[in-house]
Amino acid sequence: MRYPQRMGRISVSGRKVLLATAAMLLVTTTVAACGDGQDDGAKASAPKAPAAIPELTKDPLTLSFIWFDWPPAHALEAFANAEYKKERPNATIKVNTVPNANWHDAMFTQFAARKTDFDIAILDSQHIGEAVTNGNILDITDFVKNNIDVKAYNPYLLAAYGQFPQAETGKRDENASLYGLPLLGDTWTMIYRKDLIGDKPPQTWDQMISVAERCQADNPGVSGLAFHQANGSDAAAVTYNTVNGVYGGNLWDAKTRKIEGVLNDAAGQEAMDVLVNKMKPLTAKGSGNWFIDEVNAAVAQGKACIAFNWIAASGGLLDPKQSTLGTTREQILDKLGFATLPSQKTNLVPLGGMGMHVSAYSSTANQAEALNFMKWFERADIQKKWAAAGGVPSRTDALESPEFLNAGPFNQVYTDSVPRMRDMWNVPEYARLVDIENTNVNAALNGAKKPKDALDDIAKEQQGVLDSSSRKGGGGL
């Protein structure tokens, strides 16, 4: 009878002991969880990378990247393991990939934890501000001065993938700090059906629309246009920004941090009107959630007269296994043409691509290896090899080299587009600014909002984000 009595209701003192134990465990957990919280404030700005590459380890080492899952990521891993290993046999390159929609979250949640499983973050050019102000990536200004031939690049390319605060479009501020180096250049190419609209691509935006309109009318089942409209990632936002640029609009006034009244001025309104009322009716029904893959699928299946897509994602269009346009690459190229974007009031094109940035939380040995890799990657001979392997280099000599220009029918488009590029904002608030723009442009494209209302809402909400730094509570709404 002793046993059941002991296992019965716990006495008051017993309960106190249990409660005290639970409280102690909770406090211990809290202390453990907040263990390195004190040095958060100390890491408010980007730490500096050494000006010279420190001594490299001779032990086996894995240099990890993080990128989103697309062909260039796999090309980079294969290329780096084949070529970099020749110089550093003990180093293995691993490119970790995540779905495009999770790319920002995957990097910045690890940055938030102050621990990363990658050594080099491949950031979109617009992510730089957020990473720099949070102290997540190394300041490589001195390293670049000592190890990189900056004159070998178009200044804006070097600035776009590394400089913060952001450079003025087309320029680089030589006094500004650098936090990254170019990995993959990119811009939009116009893909057109030579067999449907002729060999000569339209030269102006208005001309492009009327050609697409005629092509759609003449070819039932084929839509005039295909472009990014989805509300994930930056899909719809890049589309609007491109049209905005072509029609002479501006995204903001960087000096005064003004968006309202700038984005939704007359040029901005005209761009939104062109996009929603002239371009959208020429797209396939239900294409309101299309992004890179869907546009490529429409082109490959012969369902679009003219399409716009990122050059780095266009390689698959020439694969006969993925296309109904021909059984060989040559047959496909008889039907598909690639051209720079038409101009209208300006000739601006969107800047795409990404840079390499060293994680501030990587080990010293891996940071040294990362710097060594970046120096190696930016060498003239390696940039040409990267071009031949399917990458888009950034050095001017590589961009003009036969290795690059002959590697793909769209590579000349990239080289010609470099002086015409314009980027979005690379401020710390980028993720929220692009989400506001994306959702509103998507709403306008899918009839959930009137174009003018959508543009005014973008300007108002984005201005609210930029002005909200002094607000007490509710940040992020």
Partner: protein, 315 residues
């Protein structure tokens, strides 16, 4: 002749004097053993549930951002008032409400109807029940992905079928009304079996003699359903509805995969909005307050609902 009784007593006395079995420490009492067994689970619960909840509660009163770092400044109820006043939050709350009412309502009607039909079958009940349960066993992400392909306006099988019937294409995921309806339909496809399962359990538990008595009284089928089946299954069905409503209230995965909240923000639910606040701007303080408010709403509504259930039981 010796008396056997004292001998037996001696034997018992000898047995009780035997020391405890070796291998068991004398210091580890039964209570100590109990605590030792419970501690790992308790520690896990504290670390994975209680601590994050209390930590989120603390952060909800601050302007803390996980990526910006730096100290968390106390701002009182600033986050809470901003959330409660926000027109964006009101819009997401309305979307969530429509979704919860639509999805759970449809699932309840369909789930109960299927359970009622299955319960009347004598052959193949087990097989039918198992088949109906398959959608519930799939991951919501997988469900979202294949429905996304099926509902694609250009290449999807649904529009292809509509086309073969001579009907026009429907933009399932890119129009305001159809996108929300699509979400409700997909959720219903996956979770109707849950309601069906609970309802089936309730239907099976209805005593047969009640139906037999009703048959003797020549009661109609409708009368038996209205006065026997429904009242007896109703409390169990309401519990299933409660579970589904809580699940539907925090819907995230299907929205993320199927519509990304679009077109625009027309299918953004509260959970999806919290995700954006937490991970796009990394406004951890606001997101914590948002999450706490959602938990409070669920707790309050559940309490009211349970009271109603208890009254129903007492009645």
């Amino acid at each position: 002749m010796s008396d056997p009784v004292p001998l037996r007593t001696d034997a018992v006395q000898v047995a009780s004097a035997t020391p405890p079995a070796p291998g068991r420490s004398r210091r580890l009492s039964d209570r100590g053993l109990a605590v030792a067994f419970i501690s790992p689970a308790l520690l896990l619960l504290l670390a994975m549930s209680v601590f994050p909840l209390l930590w989120a509660l603390y952060l909800s009163f601050t302007d803390y951002s996980a990526t910006r770092g730096g100290p968390a400044h106390f701002i009182g109820f600033g986050n809470y008032t901003a959330i409660l006043k926000s027109a964006q939050v009101h819009q997401r709350a309305l979307t969530t409400l429509i979704y919860v009412v639509g999805a759970v309502g449809l699932q309840t009607v369909l789930g109960f109807a299927i359970a009622y039909l299955i319960s009347r079958r004598t052959h193949g009940r087990g097989l039918l029940t198992t088949l109906f349960l398959v959608p519930m066993m799939l991951s919501p992400v997988v469900v979202g992905l294949f429905w996304r392909f099926m509902l694609d306006a250009q290449f999807g099988v649904i529009n292809s079928m509509l086309g073969s019937l001579g009907l026009g294409q429907v933009e399932w995921l890119t129009r305001q009304r159809t996108a929300l309806i699509s979400l409700i339909v997909v959720d219903t496809w996956q979770w109707t079996p849950f309601i069906m399962l609970i309802a089936l359990a309730g239907l099976t538990a209805v005593p047969k003699y009640l139906y037999e008595a009703a048959s003797i009284d020549r009661a109609s089928e409708w009368f038996r359903f209205r006065t026997i089946t429904l009242p007896l299954v109703w409390p169990l069905l309401l519990i299933a509805v409660l579970f589904r409503a809580i699940e539907a209230f925090r819907l995230f995965d299907l929205v993320y995969i199927l519509t990304s909240g679009g077109p625009g923000v027309s299918t953004e639910t509260l959970s999806f909005h919290v995700y954006k606040v937490a991970f796009l701007g990394f406004n951890t303080g606001t997101a914590s307050a948002y999450g706490i408010l959602m938990v409070l709403v669920v707790i309050v509504l559940t309490q009211l609902y349970l009271r109603y259930l208890n009254k129903l039981k007492e009645g």
